[in-house]
């Protein structure tokens, strides 16, 4: 099993969700994060003190899927999250050893 973890534009969440759904990937977990990629951020001043608020709001979304689905999920996210501009985000693949469904105790690995 793998966790496909993507950091995307918040505005694209709906599109990504819908695209994943259409391919049968319903289960997922989502949260708000802040981040930046390679390009540097934006300067910001507050009450006389300068600071960097270059971390911009992003959405993190992860799906734990079986190994043979990883490429498909990546593909779907890549297509649905893309605008072609800086800030489109990244996808990371992390190994997962085991997954347990709490309700039933069912274990997958």
């Amino acid at each position: 099993m793998r966790m496909v973890l993507a950091v995307i534009r918040p505005e694209k969440l709906d599109d990504v969700k819908k695209a994943l759904e259409e391919r049968g990937f319903v289960a997922m977990t989502v949260r708000e994060v802040k981040g930046r990629g390679e390009q540097k951020g934006i300067k910001l001043q507050f009450r006389g003190r300068e600071m960097e608020v270059d971390l911009l709001p992003k959405m993190e979304i992860y799906l734990v899927v079986s190994d043979d689905k990883v490429d498909e999920v990546i593909d779907v996210i890549k297509k649905s999250a893309r605008t072609g501009k800086f800030g489109d985000g990244k996808i990371f693949v992390i190994p997962v050893e085991k997954s347990v469904r709490i309700r039933t105790g069912e274990v997958e690995s």
Binding site: E11, K12, L13, D14, D15, I42, K43, L44, Q45, F46, V53, L56, P57, G87
Partner: protein, 402 residues
């Protein structure tokens, strides 16, 4: 001079003042998290800019001696230097300055309503310039036409508390501006959900509260007329809230709390011109029709893909239009000296329509021209990256919540 009337007018002015930041919260809750400060700040700035403009020359333009029915002027009103003592004929029982500041807070909120169309994309510097031009070239003349013995007043158009001057003008100006400034990036492509609905509901509460000053204060005295206006205001708000709720319940399956709030505002808008002319039972009708009408106006706007983002047009423009007409329908001698269509007074009905259409045309065209010129000269919109990171960071260098 009457101390009770003065007490009421000053209290009303304070109430109306609170509406502008209340509107900022109402709007601010509906934008995305990255633009909330920009949205609230525009309301504060609208208030601050008009406050200074009004003192310096705005009041003179609106309420000075009539010049050809179109505009007012009075040297001694500039800087209010001639108004420190005594009363004005507009409101003989209260000090002149009480009347001046009561009118000031109306001018301020009118501009603030227009910021609906600027949501999440207007450049701060362009807004400031727009604010000065718009209040001077659109609001001041319209206020003069209706309340400053201008041509609409002479024609006999009724507008108790600003259905035409405030709501039609701001609503249709917002529409014009929306056409010029264009849609937000991603509008129609992905959802832009309100980031904080409780904030919008708080704004609604402050608006409803302040509206008692708006409408009942417009009686300019503390007596029966103010009391009628007060009751009508509340009644129409309640009817509007319920009507929009039921309409959206039927149409969408669920009644959003935003719909209840928007319906209340629609009812308040519609009763504004009528508050001192109709009876409470008519107010139920006026409010309920406004709730349904504005709801469908909003759906219409969305279906046309117009990004008049926070529905100043649908709620204030259309609600104000309905209110102006409704005044010509329901006005009754039981309340004030005028009658409407249901009492056979076709003339008043027609005059109301003429007044409303003139205001629509004037506000729309002049705003369109101002916006076009500003866009050419300095650009109305922030850059694309600025819009992407949000106006709070790009225009104000701040993050709302941390």
């Amino acid at each position: 001079m009457n101390s009770g009337d003065t007490a009421w007018l000053l209290a009303s002015a304070a109430l109306v003042m609170l509406m502008t930041p209340g509107l900022g919260l109402f709007y601010g809750g509906m934008v995305r998290r990255k633009n909330v400060l920009s949205m609230i700040a525009m309301s504060f700035l609208a208030f601050a800019i008009v406050s200074v403009q009004w003192i310096l020359f705005g009041f003179a333009l609106s309420f000075g001696n009539d010049v050809n029915g179109f505009i007012g002027f009075n040297r001694s009103f500039l800087g209010l230097v001639g108004l420190l003592k005594g009363s004005l004929s507009y409101a003989p029982t209260v000090p002149a300055l009480a009347y001046v500041v009561f009118q000031l807070v109306f001018a301020a909120i009118t501009l603030a309503i227009v910021t609906s169309a600027m949501a999440e994309r207007m450049k701060l510097s362009a807004f400031i310039v727009f604010a000065i031009l718009w209040t001077t070239l659109v609001y001041d003349p319209l206020a003069h036409w209706v309340w400053g013995n201008g041509w609409l007043a002479k024609l006999g158009a009724l507008d108790f508390a600003g259905g035409t001057v405030v709501h039609i003008s701001s609503g249709f100006s917002a529409l014009a501006l929306a056409f010029v400034i264009g849609k937000r990036m991603g509008f129609g492509e992905y959802s832009m959900e309100p980031h904080n609905i409780p904030m919008t509901l708080l704004g609604t509460a402050l608006l409803w509260f302040g509206w008692f000053g708006f409408n009942a204060g417009s009686a300019l005295t503390a007596g029966t007329l103010a009391s009628v206006a007060f009751v009508n205001t509340n009644t129409a708000a309640a009817a509007g809230a319920l009507a929009w709720m039921f309409a959206s319940w039927i149409k969408e399956g669920k009644p959003g709390s935003l719909g209840i709030a928007s319906g209340a505002i629609a009812g308040l808008v519609a009763i504004t011109p009528a508050a001192g002319f109709v009876d409470p039972l008519s107010s139920i009708v006026i409010g309920a029709v406004a709730g349904v009408l504005c709801y469908f106006a909003m759906l219409f706007r969305i279906s046309k893909g117009i990004d008049e983002s926070l529905d100043a047009w649908a709620v204030h423009g259309i609600g104000g239009l309905w209110g102006a007409i409704a005044t010509g329908i329901f006005a009754t001698k039981a309340v004030n000296d005028y009658t409407g269509l249901i009492y056979g007074n076709v003339h008043q009905f027609v005059v109301q329509i003429v007044g409303a259409i003139s205001a629509i045309a004037y506000a729309f065209v002049v705003t369109f021209v101002i916006a076009k010129i500003l866009d050419a000269v300095m650009g109305l919109r922030v850059r694309e990256e600025e819009e992407y990171v949000g106006l709070d960071i790009s225009q104000h260098g701040e993050v709302a919540y941390s």
